[in-house]
């Protein structure tokens, strides 16, 4: 087990385990409650596999009423709850707690309504991201956010993480494609927000819930916007002699007013690994490879491809290939989409980081990242969503060599500090979870973090939902209420009045 500390388990809860299990079995009957150690094993970790913990008990409810009663039971008995979707979180968002109920939402696996006239799909949260697209694609529609794990990740998990994907530059993140939610609070109260209409009434709770990492409520129903698939999509594979020139080209394409459907960059190590793995036909004599995808009507795509090619040439590109068929376009992407497992083949272990930076800082960040790589004595392969400045440095290490995981984590933390230093953020799409929890003060002051926790206190005053994630320090809600009061009689003579 690595170094990040979780909240101390409640001995009282641990002692009451068999009673809690029995009580939960009365709410969710049959196989919906798992308490056997061997059967709980698959739930001990998510996609951040360096961390493992068996939960107190696993519960798989099937109805909203069961979710509500389980949560109310936990609220009444001060039992912690960790919600879980498909378990693909890269930041440990679904890591269980020893004294916490693991609430798996994967039995909520039905699409409830397809309303193409209003371009909306109503679904249960356990349906996969790709499952939504699959359900509407025969009519030419799709769900735009496309995280790389879309074949496995659940839409409920996408809400929790505000997932993006390679097309988020043009089509937005989960938050921009979400219309409505049904949620259950820790008190068991069921609340519906939004619907098929646009914009929320009163406070925008949809915005607060999207990306809240399972700390505010459990989602039981989701309404998303679906879009008509673009008629044409073509991709260009562009090679550059250096990462810096590639970075400059990215900025110029955006600066020219072109918003590609996707714009990705890979560095030398990632290109070589991907090519060796999937044989996508990538050039091996370049230092940086860009995939630019333009989508829309054919005439528009042709026009934009010409402009992109001209900008690339101006920036010294040394390789250019434009996809001539759908098959070729998919081959271009195959290498990129397999980049993580490809890197997994050249190193026993790797750590995937997820900072976002202003695009203009890309050359500087790449340079400093190389220096950090030498300092920590570990290699780094770089894959980025270049269009929106979202970096995925993959730090290569070997967990069997004592000290290498710690070195990799220290290297990762340095990369994220670098992102914040240049005006960026700790995480672009993978979430804070436990992984980046202790780095939050690098980006936010204590007062900034207090405001975040105040949202938590409005939803979950007892802090029973997914504690130990996102916040480096857990303040009790009552402590946060403290306020410096300094009495005064309009003591601000300098402030202009009207």
């Amino acid at each position: 087990m690595a170094a990040i500390a979780m909240p101390k388990p409640s001995q009282e809860t641990l002692k009451k385990r068999s009673k809690i299990v029995a009580d939960l079995q009365k709410i969710v009957r049959g196989e919906g409650v798992i308490c056997d150690e061997v059967e709980m094993r698959p739930y001990e970790t998510d996609a951040l596999t360096a961390y493992r913990q068996l939960p107190l008990v696993v519960v798989l409810p099937e109805t909203v009423d069961q979710v509500s009663r389980v949560l109310k039971y936990c609220y009444d008995n001060d039992v912690k709850v960790v919600p879980r979707g498909a378990g693909t979180s890269l930041s440990g968002g679904a890591l269980p707690l020893e004294d916490g109920v693991l609430l798996s939402m994967m039995k909520f696996n039905r699409i409830l309504e397809i309303d193409l006239e209003n371009r909306a799909v109503v679904t249960q949260p356990g349906v996969t991201n790709l499952g939504i697209t699959t359900a509407v694609q025969q009519d030419g529609f799709y769900y735009a956010p496309d995280p790389s794990s879309q074949i496995a990740c659940s839409i409920g998990g996408n809400i929790a993480e505000n997932s993006g994907g390679v097309h988020s530059l043009k089509y937005g993140l989960t938050t921009n494609n979400l219309l409505g939610l049904e949620i259950v609070l820790i008190t068991g109260e069921v609340i519906r927000l939004g619907g098929k209409h646009l914009d929320s009434e009163a406070y925008d709770l949809l915005a607060l819930l999207t990306g809240s990492e399972g700390l505010l409520a459990v989602v039981t129903e989701v309404t998303v916007r679906v879009l008509q698939k673009p008629e044409t999509a073509r991709a260009a594979l562009i090679g550059f002699p250096t990462s810096e020139t590639a970075g400059k080209c990215v900025a110029e394409i955006i600066g020219a007013g072109i918003i590609p459907g996707g714009m990705e960059l890979m560095d030398k190590l990632a290109i070589d690994a991907a090519e060796d793995f999937v044989h996508a036909g990538y050039p091996l004599d370049v230092d940086a490879l860009m995939i630019v995808e333009l989508d829309g009507p054919e005439a528009e795509v042709d026009d934009l491809l010409k402009r992109v090619s001209a900008i690339a040439e101006k920036n010294g590109s040394s390789y250019l290939r434009v996809s001539q068929s759908e098959e070729e376009r998919n081959t271009f992407w195959a290498g990129r989409k397999a980049a993580f497992p490809a890197v997994g083949r050249i190193s026993p272990d790797y750590l995937c980081m997820d900072g976002t930076i202003p695009r203009a800082a890309l050359p500087q960040v790449l340079q400093e990242m190389q220096e950090l790589s030498e300092k920590h004595g570990l290699r780094v392969a770089n894959v980025f969503h270049a269009g929106d400045g979202n970096l995925h440095p993959l730090i290569l290490y070997d967990a069997n060599i004592p000290g290498e995981l710690a070195a990799a984590e220290a290297f990762g933390a340095d990369i994220l500090r670098l992102c914040v230093k240049v005006g960026g953020v700790l995480t672009g799409e993978h979430g804070v979870g436990i992984e980046k929890r202790d780095l939050m003060p690098e980006m936010y002051s204590e007062d900034d973090l207090k405001q975040q926790q105040r949202v938590k206190c409005a939803f979950d005053e007892k802090q029973l939902l997914n504690p130990g994630k996102m916040f480096p320090v857990l303040h009790r809600c009552a402590e946060l209420g403290f306020m410096h009061v300094h009495q005064g009689q309009l003591p601000f003579p300098d402030i202009p009045r009207f």
């Binding site: 309303d115 006239e117 209003n118 371009r119 993006g164 988020s168 993140l173 109260e189 069921v190 609340i191 619907g195 098929k196 209409h197 646009l198 914009d199 009434e201 009163a202 406070y203 925008d204 709770l205 915005a207 607060l208 999207t210 990306g211 809240s212 008509q228 110029e252 600066g255 072109i258 829309g296 009507p297 528009e300 026009d303 976002t356 202003p358 969503h385 929106d388 400045g389 953020v425 995480t427 804070v432 936010y444 002051s445 405001q451 975040q452 105040r454 949202v455 409005a458 939803f459 996102m470 946060l480 306020m483 009061v485 300094h486 309009l490 601000f492 300098d494 402030i495 202009p496 009207f498």
Partner: protein, 399 residues
């Protein structure tokens, strides 16, 4: 006699809020005050104006991000962006004509506090979708930041978007980072003449469900305004590069060929048409109650049909039917039947945009919330503004 505070820096603003919190004395928080006739009136002795806190903090056109102080006039923001051939994609309205106040006086802070979006909201998203970060002072007098200056960011709760339609009741923003986009090279509007509301609804739905990438879709009934004097008008707006627009226009013509009476509004005329609808010009010069209805797009025409059975109304549809503007004859109050009709037709919400002070004091201006949701809203308010000093009652009693 109340004070009118007019700070010019975030620190001065923080000092005012700290004082008000210590004194437990409410503040009416406004930008320039251009939306004061909208929403519920605030009962407070003191006013805090933020339109002294102005200026651009950072703008790199190639980054597509603008960081600007909250009191900056909207027109300044728009002018600056236009110089770089960019714009606010959600095209906020200037409601001065319909609210009967001085034109173009609003601040960017006021736009975001009310999540004010225009016709292009349909494709581009709302004001809140474009907010990347903010700095603000909470009702406790704590200055804080949330979000950042980059497009992709999931570091902590999304307070910047979450605070966007809170009408200054949770915190007072001092600056925002906003995502901007290039202006389209060209625009035009494809028009269908003489459709019934039902036909228009299905035409808009078909257009939106096609790959024609329609960016705005509206319907003006016959006699509604000069443009629709003789026929009803269904408007479908296309924006982009010329070669793409031509292609998509052909596509629309072919999808909607069963409606043979077709016209085209091009260039500047198209921009003016959408500008007028965005600013609700056809409803200007009246003081009759004007309601904003947000419903499922295909339910818009059903809601109108039900309303017409019971009331004399003047109306138009935007957002492909998902946004219905309804001017009511007579003072009403109409809120209860109006909201019942929305509930019976797929749900949504209604907000009173224009109404006399008496009307706004006596009806629910914002959609009433069920008890559990109201409880949550009140807890959120209590966390950020425990003494209820920021715009108390501006949205709901008790918030």
């Amino acid at each position: 006699m109340g004070e009118g505070f007019h700070p010019t820096t975030a620190d001065e603003l923080e000092a005012v809020v700290k004082w008000a919190a210590a004194e437990r004395t409410p503040l009416e928080v406004i930008g320039s005050g251009s939306k004061r006739n909208w929403g519920r009136a605030v009962q407070s002795a003191h006013t805090l104006r933020i339109d002294g806190i102005t200026g651009v903090i950072d703008y790199e056109p190639a980054e597509l991000v603008l960081t600007v102080k909250a009191g900056t006039p909207l027109t300044d923001v728009q002018t600056l962006l236009k110089e770089h051939n960019q714009e606010l994609p959600f095209e906020p309205a200037d409601l001065s004509a319909v609210l009967g106040v001085a034109a173009q006086a609003g601040t960017i802070g006021g736009v975001l506090a009310t999540n004010l979006s225009g016709p292009r909201r349909l494709k581009a998203g709302a004001a809140r979708d474009h907010v990347l970060g903010l700095e603000a002072v909470s009702g406790r007098g704590e200055i804080f930041k949330a979000g950042g200056r980059v497009v992709k960011n999931v570091t902590g709760y999304d307070l910047s978007r979450g605070f966007c339609s809170s009408w200054g009741t949770l915190a007072v923003a001092t600056s925002f980072s906003i995502k901007v986009l290039p202006r389209a090279a060209k625009e035009c509007t494809f028009v269908l003449l003489g459709l019934t509301p039902q036909e228009a609804s299905s035409a808009m739905s078909e257009a939106m469900g096609s790959s024609a990438e329609v960016s705005s879709a509206g319907y003006l009934p016959k006699g509604f305004c000069p443009l629709s004097l003789e026929h009803s008008i269904t408007l479908l707006r296309l924006e982009g590069i010329p070669v793409s627009i031509d292609y998509r226009l052909d596509k629309l013509r072919s999808i909607l060929k069963r409606f043979p009476s077709q016209e085209l509004i091009e260039g500047q005329a198209s921009r003016k048409t959408w500008g007028d609808l965005r600013d609700l010009i056809p409803f200007a010069g009246s003081d009759k109650p004007l309601w904003k209805l947000s419903v499922s797009p295909t339910a818009g025409q059903q809601v109108i049909a039900e309303l017409e059975k019971r009331f004399a109304i003047k109306w138009m549809m935007d957002w492909a039917g998902g946004l219905v503007w309804v001017e009511m004859e007579g003072e009403g109050p109409h809120d209860v039947p109006l909201r019942r009709i929305i509930t019976e037709n797929g749900g949504g919400h209604a907000m009173l945009l224009r109404g006399s002070a008496e009307l706004r004091a006596s009806v629910d201006v914002f959609q009433p919330q069920i008890e559990t949701l109201m409880g949550l809203s009140k807890r959120l308010k209590a966390q950020f503004d425990p003494h209820g000093i920021l715009n108390p009652g501006r949205m709901y009693a008790g918030i």
